[in-house]
């Protein structure tokens, strides 16, 4: 029989291996919902440069598969979303260490370009890991013994197009919509459109941006369970596609694949709105880890 120490160590190793696999998998093989959304965009696009861009994108996804290569060279900053069950037998401190080590292992073994630098000196800090990198978001689930890890490698071109505005209550919903429109027109071709526009509303300044990032990590075209928020998603998707920014900002009908919105309740005098862009290569991959260390990989989550 295994001792507790052995169990912890083998479970930590399972999470490490899952993280290493997820990081590379996400970079190479984009999810089916995204492929469908890109194919649909190519059906709808009528501009000549826009059509050229979308056909190149579809060809690229195919070539990445055939050549077993990365879809995009920007291996991003590693971001993980963890849902930890109350009874999962590995402490989050060790889960974090496993994600750190797994990111490093994938970077060395593949090898992947390392992007992580010290913010002030700009010196590279190693193998896509560093101080507070990877970035890990936590959610805890009562009465459950599993762990879900979603890896979202985030490229800098789209992450640079992040915007926050503390609207006033008097700005209302119209103010929220206007800020989203202004942000996406201002971003133009820089974040590699057509992608997913993540919008976070409510909470506080930091939490609104957190929600916007959570929104881009959802499967494309999923709708918020709150009907009011889902209606806002539909409306914003339509409005954004009327701006004419088009694929890679060269002009056209498809500026965004979809707009996703996440919300939180807020202070009576606050109306925060955050925008976080996800490029067309909206990479993500998920693993479900059981308490015995077995791992199921999931393309749909």
């Amino acid at each position: 029989m295994k001792t507790d120490v052995e169990t912890v160590s083998s479970l930590q190793d399972a999470v490490l291996q899952a993280a290493a696999h997820l990081y590379v998998w996400a970079l190479k093989d984009i999810p089916q919902d995204l492929r469908d959304a890109l194919a649909d965009a190519a059906e709808r696009e009528t501009s000549v440069p826009g059509q050229r861009v979308l056909q190149t994108i579809l060809r690229n996804v195919q070539v990445a598969e055939e050549e077993r290569n990365l879809v995009c060279q920007d291996t991003g900053i590693a971001v993980y979303y963890c849902r930890v069950g109350e009874h999962f037998p590995l402490h989050p401190a060790r889960i974090y260490q496993a994600l750190y080590d797994g990111t490093e292992r994938a970077t060395v073994e593949h090898p992947l370009r390392s992007n992580t630098v010290h913010t002030l000196t700009r010196e590279n800090t190693g193998q896509n890991v560093g101080y507070r990198v990877p970035i890990v978001h936590w959610d805890f689930v009562p009465g459950w013994d599993g762990l879900d890890v979603k890896c979202v490698p985030k490229g800098s071109g789209s992450e640079s197009m992040s915007f926050l505005k503390m609207c006033t209550p008097a700005d209302g919903v119209a103010g929220i919509k206007r800020f989203v429109l202004d942000s996406i027109v201002g971003a133009g071709g820089k974040p590699c459109p057509p992608g997913i526009v993540g919008v976070g509303i409510g909470g506080s300044a930091d939490y609104a941006m957190h929600l916007a990032k959570e929104a881009i990590a959802r499967p494309v075209a999923t709708r918020n369970p709150d009907p009011l928020v889902a209606q806002l998603e539909e409306e914003l998707t339509g409005l954004l596609n009327e701006t004419g920014i088009g694929p890679m900002g060269l002009g056209g009908d498809v500026t965004v694949l979809h707009c996703h919105v996440e919300h939180a309740d807020t202070h009576m005098t606050l109306n925060p709105v955050a925008v976080n862009y996800q490029c067309w290569a909206a990479r993500r991959a998920t693993a479900h880890v059981s308490p015995d260390g077995s791992v199921d990989y999931d393309r749909e989550a």
Partner: protein
């Protein structure tokens, strides 16, 4: 219109291109990025490579070292160009560069130098690195390895593209036109919010 061009090239060939045209590129292209250009222009270090007639690609490639100064391609894609717009004028004026290729476009301040010196901006599809890598035949030379991956790279390419001429040497920019039209549309959209 569709074109095929071999680089390095001439001002005459560049002046043939108009915004919206599609181009496939053969020959030699040069990989360059933020730190490479900061070294040339802010630190005053002469590039160890002739850039006359050159095609510059905004890139920081994923590579594997296979020997002294020799690298094998793993995944080569293109970065956002707008950060590097201030280098457009000296690249044309001092070094005779003919084409800058990247993703996301250059702001309007690139329009005048491109017209004056006979340069173009080619829009590539950002993120389409798997395809781009197959169009790069070989990494022929690497300078300034200490800036890895933002070195000065010389690639041999075949059928590189399709690229879109997004800013031409006659004063046209698709980015300018798209922004202008989007700003007008926004005024109408605000009415419906």
């Amino acid at each position: 219109m569709e074109h095929r061009l071999t680089f390095p090239t001439t001002e005459e060939a560049i002046r043939e291109l108009c915004a919206g045209d599609s181009v496939l590129v053969d020959g030699h292209i040069v990989g360059i990025r933020d730190r490479t250009q900061i070294r040339i222009f802010d630190q005053g270090v002469e590039p160890p490579m002739d850039l006359r007639g050159a095609f510059l690609l905004h890139t920081a490639p994923n590579v594997r070292k296979v020997g002294e100064g020799r690298y094998e391609k793993l995944c080569i894609g293109t970065t956002t160009s707008a950060r590097m717009v201030r280098f457009t004028e000296p690249l044309g004026r001092d070094y005779g560069v003919r084409a800058i290729c990247g993703k996301g476009g250059l702001p309007d301040e690139a329009i005048v130098p491109m017209r004056r010196y006979g340069m173009v901006y080619f829009a590539i599809v950002g993120g389409a690195a798997a395809l781009e890598t197959t169009q790069i035949e070989e990494i022929e030379e690497v300078f300034w390895e200490e800036l890895m991956p933002e070195c000065l790279w010389k690639f041999r390419v075949k059928d590189f593209g399709p690229l879109t001429v997004a800013i031409d040497s006659h004063g046209s920019s698709l980015y300018h036109d798209v922004q202008e039209s989007a700003r007008k549309k926004l005024e109408a959209l605000y009415e419906r919010l």
